[in-house]
């Protein structure tokens, strides 16, 4: 039997006989189950909210169809503008949670989950009603106890707790010289010990996670494998850190301190520092300033409209149009306001894009950030998807506006048949799968690079094994 296998078997026996491995697996299972339960509750709440928004839309359409079918007559038509005019379309665009949403709340609470689409609504206001949540800010400030929290923050602690004394105990007890005098290279010995940790500590944890996800989500095998791959890499990164620390520490207490300092630096301080860098390099745009600028543009569009001659907007060749000309005037004002809004938004968009680019780039600062990013992407709770939803919802608004304008141009009223055929519906297409895969692979590469860097340092240290017997 090779020395590698012998060492792995010995380590495995030590780990099992140490009495801590099973409790550690169990603790991780409890944490995952609790976080998944929390995640399920959050997803259920989000699904209920989305369903309620769509139900509201369906109720409005049903009411208007009923009005057209049963109440509208030639004499009372004026009272039923909401049902008759396409300019009063009341539609919704929603962003449903993904199949793996229990993994993390991610950015879902920082972006709108729906939009109210109405042809005359100013495009900057369509998300207003769905931007602010009612969640207790104390809960948000504390951070969601979701699976991402367990994986990004707690999993490293468990891996380090199980591997902080990879070699330090042997050094502390004076066994290092004896071990290193055996016919096995120090590097091979340490790699074997680390491999044993990977096989009996990290792999079971990943299996537990996949099991919990399989039981509590509707995700397919591909998504589960992606989560497993990312988490496995992340676990190996922390194992590599423990290995490196053990090449320096002479006592178990020193190794524990070193591992904890590493965790604190990589999972807490470095990300906070990275956020500080992003704030300095690319601060977010001022939303109040933007709101004021847009309101000023709305006033400008209104003032311009006052100067517009009525003849320019009246229904062509129709003395008594079905749709009042005031709505045509309004359509012109809305079109003009849209141009002004887009112009006014441009500098803020540039600033926000620059910030997003910085935030994206800074995920390379720590594998913890990269994992969080990867998990958010797998859970469909990432910022890119949320921003893309905003783009698609805006596109839908323009599409609905174009339809309403056709009705205006043809002076055509909505009919029961229109409602029966179905009004325009929003379908979220999402980002191209290729882009998502690239970002995910990038996150995996950041974690793998981090682990490789630590192993490279370890290799350099191991070139002078004399350190290990000091």
């Amino acid at each position: 039997m090779s020395t590698l296998l012998i060492t792995i078997r010995t380590e495995a026996r030590r780990m099992l006989r140490g009495g801590w491995l099973l409790p550690l697996w169990f603790a991780f299972f409890v944490l995952c189950a609790g976080a998944a339960w929390n995640g399920m509750a959050w997803v259920e709440g989000r699904q209920t909210a989305v369903a309620s928004i769509l139900e509201d839309e369906a109720d409005t359409h049903a009411m208007r169809r009923k009005q057209l079918a049963e109440e509208v007559t030639a004499d009372n038509r004026q009272r039923y503008g909401g049902a008759l005019y396409a300019t009063a379309f009341s539609l919704r665009a929603t962003l449903a949670p993904g199949a793996l949403a229990i993994l993390t709340v991610g950015q879902a609470e920082g972006y709108p989950m729906a939009a109210n689409i109405s042809p005359f609504a100013a495009s900057n206001t369509i998300f207003d009603q769905h931007t602010a949540g009612m969640e207790n800010p104390s809960v948000l400030a504390a951070g969601r106890f979701d699976l991402a929290f367990v994986l990004v923050w707690l999993l490293p602690l468990l891996v380090l707790a199980g591997s902080f004394d990879l070699f330090a105990t042997e050094r502390e007890r004076g066994m290092a010289p004896w071990l290193l005098s055996q016919p096995v290279s120090p590097a091979r010995l340490l790699v074997s010990k680390a491999l044993a940790r990977a096989l009996f500590l990290i792999l079971p944890l990943v299996a537990i996670l996949v099991g919990v996800l399989w039981m509590t989500s509707t995700a397919g095998p591909g998504a589960l494998l992606s989560v497993a791959g990312l988490v496995l890499l992340y676990g190996l990164f922390w194992l590599a850190l423990a290995l490196l620390v053990n090449l320096f520490a002479t006592t178990a207490a020193q190794a524990a301190l070193g591992c904890l300092a590493g965790w604190l630096a990589l999972a807490v301080l470095l990300p906070a520092l990275a956020l500080g860098v992003a704030d300095l390099a690319a601060p977010p745009s001022n939303p109040n300033e933007r709101a004021n600028a847009l309101r000023a543009e709305a006033m400008r569009a209104r003032a311009e409209m006052k100067l517009q001659p009525t003849a320019a907007v009246i229904a062509p060749g129709n003395v008594a149009p079905n749709i009042p000309d005031s709505l045509r005037r309004r359509a012109v004002e809305v079109a003009r306001a849209e141009i002004l809004i887009q112009e006014a938004l441009q500098p803020y968009r540039v600033q926000d894009r620059a910030r997003q680019a910085w935030l994206n780039a800074l995920r390379t600062a720590s594998p913890a950030i990269a994992l969080q990013d990867g998990l958010e992407r797998l859970a469909d709770a990432d910022a890119a998807r949320a921003r893309h939803f905003q783009v698609e919802a805006h596109g839908f608004l323009l599409q609905v506006r174009a339809i309403a304008n056709q009705y205006l141009a043809q002076d055509r009223l909505l009919t029961v048949a229109d409602y029966d055929r179905g009004l325009p519906r929003f379908v979220f297409r999402g980002l191209p799968a290729r882009d998502e895969l690239f970002e995910l692979l990038f996150d995996a590469a950041v974690i793998a690079f981090g682990a490789a860097l630590l192993l490279a340092f370890a290799y350099l240290r191991l070139r002078h094994p004399i350190h290990l017997t000091e």
Binding site: A141, L275, N288, N292, D373
Partner: protein, 478 residues
């Protein structure tokens, strides 16, 4: 040797511990690092606060100009166009931003609706935002206790500490004196740290200098002092209890992990599960349902408005609304606003009751973690908690109500029947209504402060009892 010539053991122990603390280079570096982080974050937060306050003043001015730009406009349209109210920055938020990043600092004020605050600092983030920024409060609440753990885990359990302890026992020190001596020396170090933080905090908040500010800052620092003392007592007790330095380190780190990291995160989640908060959609649907069907759910709006119309006609002794000396639509807007405001207020009261129930449950978690008592106390005194935010929202709501009703009153009094495109100088109508938000007065904070203070004192007392019990163990092991 005559006993009178010997240094009293307690003084000797304190002096020896103090000296070894001062000579511990790793601790010096760690302490300086934490202080540097505090100073850096205080400086950064101060700079950020000044920038935000300048932006707020500028935004307020521009908002006023936009409102005035409307000129002659339909007052009801202007009520829908709405106004914006901006929350002033609390000076002590520089030290503890509390819930500020998650609350939003702006409220849109418009007719018929009571909006929640918007533009949260956490909006529009990315994965990195999940890690949260670094604040002085984070350093004081999480890192300083970790520093205390590193400094004290070996106070009894370390090999050197044991050697010293045997010498002290040889000089006649009792276990109680051993414990008290270490607690005094480490307590003095904590006080020194507190003093340094106090100076930094004073410098960072100098522009807000006032007796109330000083009192709030003083109480806040007192709270932090008690919190650190509680940590010190518990970790010293663990050190005395532990068989060796490794167990002491793991025990103390375990306590830190539970008290400073896990419980503060899990407790609010459990509280939310126990007292669920409705989603914004469900909340709004509840309000709309009450508006449409009345508080009892059986009084449709049409019926209520018909009754109101009949009562109005009877009051003025006329048969048609066109015969009224006032504009009926304006009167209806005024009446409707009063009703919807009452409905919103009721629903918001319920929502905030749920929040308060969650806060009470979270405070109960201070039985496991002193941070759960310190955190609400610190945010209360910094005026970055929910109570301070609601205080602002109430003032904004009063302003909204006055503004909207002034516009409705204008329609009621001036719009003539059949005047379809009525317009009025909305800026002039609302010129006398000003929004000047004020923070909660200092004495209003005190009733909410005593429970967290009592809990922190209980932690210190409990820690002292643990130390006393652990001292017996020292006696046994010595």
């Amino acid at each position: 040797m005559a006993s009178g010539s010997m240094t009293p053991p307690l003084g000797l122990i304190v002096r020896q511990q103090w000296t070894s603390l001062l000579r511990e280079r790793r601790l010096q570096i760690l302490g300086l690092l934490v202080l540097a982080l505090c100073a850096l974050t205080l400086f950064d937060a101060g700079r950020d606060a000044a920038r935000l306050e300048r932006a707020r003043l500028h935004d307020t001015q521009v908002e006023q100009q936009v409102w005035q730009t409307q000129g002659e406009a339909n007052p009801h349209g202007a009520a829908h166009f709405g106004r914006y109210a901006y929350k002033p920055h609390a000076p002590l938020a520089v030290i503890d931003p509390g819930l500020q990043r998650h609350l939003g600092s702006t409220v849109k004020l418009e007719g018929h609706l009571q909006n929640t605050s918007r533009f949260k600092a956490t909006d529009g983030g990315a994965a990195l935002n999940r890690f949260g920024g670094f604040s002085p409060a984070f350093a004081l609440q999480v890192l300083v206790p970790l520093l205390i753990v590193f400094a004290t885990f070996g106070a009894f359990a370390g090999e050197r500490a044991r050697q010293m302890m045997w010498q002290e026992i040889g000089l006649g020190a009792t276990p109680r004196q051993l414990m008290l001596g270490r607690a005094t020396a480490y307590g003095a170090a904590v006080l020194l740290l507190l003093g340094t933080v106090a100076v930094l905090a004073l410098l960072a908040t100098l522009p807000a200098f006032s007796p109330a500010h000083l009192a709030a800052l003083g109480l806040m620092l007192l709270g932090y002092g008690l919190y650190w003392l509680a940590f010190l007592c518990v970790t010293l007790a663990i050190s005395a209890w532990a068989a060796n330095s490794r167990s002491a380190l793991f025990g103390a780190l375990g306590f830190w992990m539970v008290a400073a990291v896990l419980v503060p995160m899990v407790a609010p989640a459990l509280a939310e599960a126990r007292h669920p908060t409705p989603s914004a959609t469900v909340f709004e649907a509840g309000v709309v349902q009450e508006v449409m069907k009345g508080p009892d759910g059986h009084s449709p709006r049409d019926e209520r408005f018909a009754a109101f119309k009949a009562a109005t006609l009877a009051q003025y002794g006329v048969k048609e609304v066109d015969d009224l000396p006032i504009n009926y639509n304006g009167l209806l807007f005024e009446h409707g606003e009063k009703l919807t405001s009452a409905i919103y207020n009721r629903h918001f009261d319920r929502l905030y009751d749920d929040y308060a129930a969650q806060v009470r449950l979270t405070l109960a978690a201070s039985a496991v973690s002193p941070l759960m008592a310190l955190r609400p106390l610190s945010a209360l005194l910094a005026q970055t908690d929910m109570a301070a935010h609601r205080h602002f929202l109430k003032q904004a709501e009063a302003y909204r109500y006055q503004t909207v009703q002034a516009l409705n009153r204008d329609i009621k009094l001036n719009r003539k029947p059949g005047h379809t495109d009525y317009a009025s100088d909305v800026s002039a109508i609302t010129a006398a209504i000003r929004f000047t938000p004020r923070p909660r007065p200092f004495d209003a904070l005190l009733p909410d402060a005593w429970v967290p203070f009592a809990l922190l004192l209980a932690w210190v007392a409990g820690g002292a009892v643990l130390m006393r019990l652990a001292a017996r163990r020292v006696e046994g092991s010595a």
